[in-house]
């Protein structure tokens, strides 16, 4: 019942709908941009080859030979990390704050419902909404990739795998938004703290692990970095890399989509390839555990949110 | 209507003047002469009573308002000037709301549903303050209320609004004389409303 009510309520929220439209729009744009840039670079390469042949110079092989069909989707990885995470935080925030803002908490808990059931309803609603949103994005990506690039059944499975993993990644942010919305004194703080955490995960941690400037880490083709030469950087990288959630997400999607996303970061310690497959779900479980703990502290007798 | 008279809203048609100043053409002139207590008075919860009053006093043109604030708080029997507003009860906040409305000694005081949410003791205290402001300081009080018992005890002149139209206005004394058969102001009001709806 709680889940149904939450879903119904969020579908009426104009802000959520706007973000959803933007996310789906970016999904469509991402495939087109990926195709357009791949098509253009091929033409640029052909022009370069003509020039080199004219000059009688040797022609290097195309640097992007053997690129997967799914490389069209490399931008989608970034949009999940950016807009997807913001959307997820918004969903969690809206679902957590709604009852408090309307002052109906007392009405809800004067019914036969426990706090855990209340939380479960919200969690189910979050997964449902996020899942639907990513399912829509999956359809858009699949259809647009099929039209522009020609993909196989295996490719479709890989795209589904990517969005499935994106669901796991984004659910963590949604649960984060939910946790703070349930307990912070003001809605502003409830929204801002998860946003600051997202900033740290998306920009600060990657800078520490790969010595890239924050915005450079958003580029689908990253520059080479070598942290080995600096003992300090090397130590920071070794310590921080496992918890750099957004980077782990990018590495896993590289595996799933066969997109050569990450640069050859030279490290002193080679982490296992499956690290991201473990860390990202752990992150989500930790955020869910956080929600479980905060619901224990939730004040069910409070009236309207006192801003 | 109160929003228009306090220059918060522009009228879609017609003209209004407050203390001789046009609400549209000379809104600053209006605001220099009025005080306003909205229906649900809220102040800056994170600031103390004194800090709130100092801010509003300065915005009203009082450059060194500390003495005036002390006078007003004394008049209203407020001794919690250093307390944060967020820690005050509704009744206490209402007093501070009145304090900010009168700190600059306005000619006209607009009160929008001032008794809303107050207990009977609070209502009586507010009534005493309103009467004192009018009788001792000559302040004109414009009060918007649904509590007709308060109108009986406080007002000298009444107006009745129905569906946005002013359907009746006269002194309270004349009104009571005009409807001798009615036992209470409530009954008079219902009769006026009825006549107003029938276009009489």
């Amino acid at each position: 019942m709680v889940a149904r009510q939450e879903i119904r309520a969020i579908l009426k929220e104009k802000t959520f709908l706007l973000l959803l439209v933007i996310f789906i729009g970016m999904t469509l744009a991402s495939t087109y941009i990926g195709w357009s840039s791949a098509h253009t670079i091929q033409s640029v390469y052909d022009s370069t080859v003509s020039l080199l042949v004219e000059q009688g110079k040797a022609v290097p092989p195309p640097p992007f030979e053997g690129a997967s069909h799914l490389s069209l989707l490399k931008n989608m990885v970034i949009y999940v990390v950016l807009i997807g995470a913001l959307l997820a935080i918004t969903i969690g925030h809206l679902m957590g704050i709604r009852d408090r803002k309307a002052g109906v908490t007392r009405l809800i808990f004067s019914r036969n419902i426990t706090k855990r059931q209340f939380l479960l309803g919200k969690v189910m609603a979050i997964l449902c909404v996020l899942g639907s949103m990513l399912a829509a994005a999956l359809m858009v990506s699949t259809v647009s990739s099929a039209l522009l690039s020609g993909i196989t059944f295996t490719d479709v499975m890989r795209i589904a795998g990517f969005y499935g993993f994106a669901l796991v990644y984004l659910a963590g942010f949604a649960f984060l938004g939910l946790s703070f919305a349930l307990t912070r004194k003001t809605s502003t703080l409830a929204l801002l703290v998860p946003l600051i955490i997202w900033l740290a995960i998306t920009f600060v941690l990657p800078e520490l692990t790969s010595a890239l400037s924050p915005t450079a880490s958003l580029n689908p083709t990253l520059p080479q970095t070598d942290v080995l030469q600096s003992p300090v950087l090397s130590a920071i990288h070794t310590a921080v890399y496992p918890i750099s959630i957004s980077e782990q997400f990018k590495v896993v999607t590289e595996n799933i989509l066969l997109v050569p996303f990450n640069p050859a970061i030279t490290r002193s310690f080679d982490y296992p390839f499956w690290l991201g497959y473990v860390i990202v779900p752990l992150w989500t479980i930790a955020c869910l555990a956080g929600s479980y703990i905060t619901i224990g502290k939730f004040n069910q007798s409070q009236g309207e949110l006192n801003e | 209507m109160v929003n228009i008279l306090t220059t918060l809203l522009e009228p879609t048609s017609g003209k209004a003047t407050v203390a001789g100043c046009d609400v549209v053409k000379d809104s600053i002139g209006v605001r220099q002469q009025i005080g306003y207590l909205p229906e649900s008075v809220q102040l800056y919860g994170g600031l103390t009573v004194n800090e709130n009053l100092e801010y509003f006093a300065r915005l009203s043109g009082i450059h060194k308002p500390q003495r005036r604030i002390a006078e007003v708080l004394d008049f209203l029997h407020v001794s919690y000037g250093d307390k944060k507003v967020s820690a005050l009860s509704k009744g206490m906040r209402q007093r501070i709301g009145i304090a900010q409305a009168i700190v600059h000694q306005p000619r006209i005081l607009f009160l929008d549903e001032p008794t809303s949410g107050l207990d009977p003791f609070g209502v009586k205290e507010l009534r005493d303050i309103i009467l004192k402001l009018n009788r001792e300081f000559g302040m004109t009080i414009f009060m918007n209320t649904h509590l007709l018992s308060e109108v009986m005890q406080t007002c000298s002149r009444i107006g009745v609004l129905s569906h946005g139209q002013l359907i009746y206005t006269d002194t309270l004394a004349n009104t009571l004389k005009r409807f001798p058969g009615e036992e209470s102001l409530e009954q008079i009001y219902l009769k006026i409303e009825g006549n107003g709806n029938n276009g009489q």
Binding site: G34, Y45, S213 | L8, R58
Partner: protein, 326 residues
């Protein structure tokens, strides 16, 4: 003017009392220092690599192909600029939001509007108060950067470099205040104020991150680590010759880039600080004149956004009251 200063003083006091903004400030200070630490470590590792290569070449009786890496201290501030683009913009958004949400949540906007204070004075006061805080924050970033470069990077700034740093901080002020004004406008016009915050973040994402990212994705040279044209061993003139066949594509890509306020800010800042190495030896006046479009974009938008705030606040439409409820 007195009223504006009264409002400005109160705004500044409210900001200093806000734990949240203090947290943002500390966060910005921490990432500034972190960024300088990382950049200086990268530079030191480049120097170590060069020295190792030099040693090997000497043993083989050869001369080095290129010069030793030269430290231009301001180059180490690249990450700081990135963080101003990101966190500085977020700070601007927060300030713009909080300045209105405070009034809406406490329903005090009506009380102020019934005072003999013009709406323009209200806007001026809020801009002044918040602007003072942003200016102080950037001054702090400047001091941290100077000390960071001195202590971590081992480099003191000369007067010209100090001037350049000051100019970039001024540009950063305008950049951050644009986001302040944007959120101020949204918060004033939207019925549910927390939605204004979300919309502001979406706009920030679009112009600060997504538009530049799309433009970078579309850049052929960006398709390969180290640069496509470098991998094809093409010189700059040859690169230009190849790209003349793709004029329309480049026009679209450039247009997308021009739409991003952040890109304008970044280009001007990188040029002034010499992060793009070709500008290291260029006189400051030449740098500024060659980037007049970027400077105009930032300062122009800054002026326009402030004007829009004043214009919106001054409007008293018939039958319309500013949304007072959250």
């Amino acid at each position: 003017m007195n009223n504006a200063l009264t409002i400005a003083r109160k705004e500044f006091r409210d900001i200093l009392r806000s734990r949240l903004l203090l947290i943002m400030l500390l966060f910005l200070a921490a990432v500034t220092v972190t960024s300088i630490l990382v950049s200086s470590q990268v530079f030191q590792s480049q120097v170590s690599q060069y020295n190792e290569s030099l040693q090997i070449l000497k043993e083989l009786g050869k001369t080095p192909a290129g010069p030793a890496p030269e430290l231009f201290p301001l180059n180490l501030l690249r990450g700081v600029i990135d963080y101003i683009e990101i966190i500085g913009a977020v700070l601007g958004i927060l300030l713009g939001y909080l300045t209105i949400s405070r009034e809406k949540n406490s329903k005090t906007l009506n009380l102020i509007l019934t005072r003999p204070v013009s709406r323009l004075e209200i806007v001026t006061g809020k801009v002044l108060g918040n602007g003072a805080f942003v200016a102080l924050t950037l001054l702090g970033v400047g001091i941290f950067s100077y000390l960071g470069l001195l202590v971590i990077g081992g480099a003191a700034l000369n007067p010209v470099e100090l001037l350049k740093l000051g100019l970039v901080l001024l540009l950063s002020f305008a950049y951050i205040m644009i986001f302040f004004s944007l959120t101020f406008l949204l918060s004033l016009s939207m019925k549910t104020i927390s939605h204004a915050l979300i919309i502001a973040f979406v706009i920030w994402l679009a112009i600060a991150l997504i538009l530049p990212q799309i433009s970078d994705t579309m850049d052929p040279d960006n398709q390969v680590p180290g640069g496509f044209f470098a991998s094809m061993h093409l010189t700059k003139p040859e690169e230009k010759q190849v790209m003349t066949n793709f004029g329309n594509y480049e026009t679209i890509r450039n247009t997308i880039e021009q739409l991003s306020l952040t890109k304008h800010y970044e280009r001007a800042s990188f040029a002034i600080l010499g992060i793009k190495t070709e500008f290291n030896a260029m006189p400051l006046a030449d740098i500024l004149s060659s980037h007049w479009v970027n400077l105009l974009a930032v300062f122009g938008l800054f002026a326009a956004s402030l004007y829009a705030c004043g214009a919106l606040m001054s409007r008293r439409r018939k039958g319309y009251v500013l949304y007072l409820d959250t």
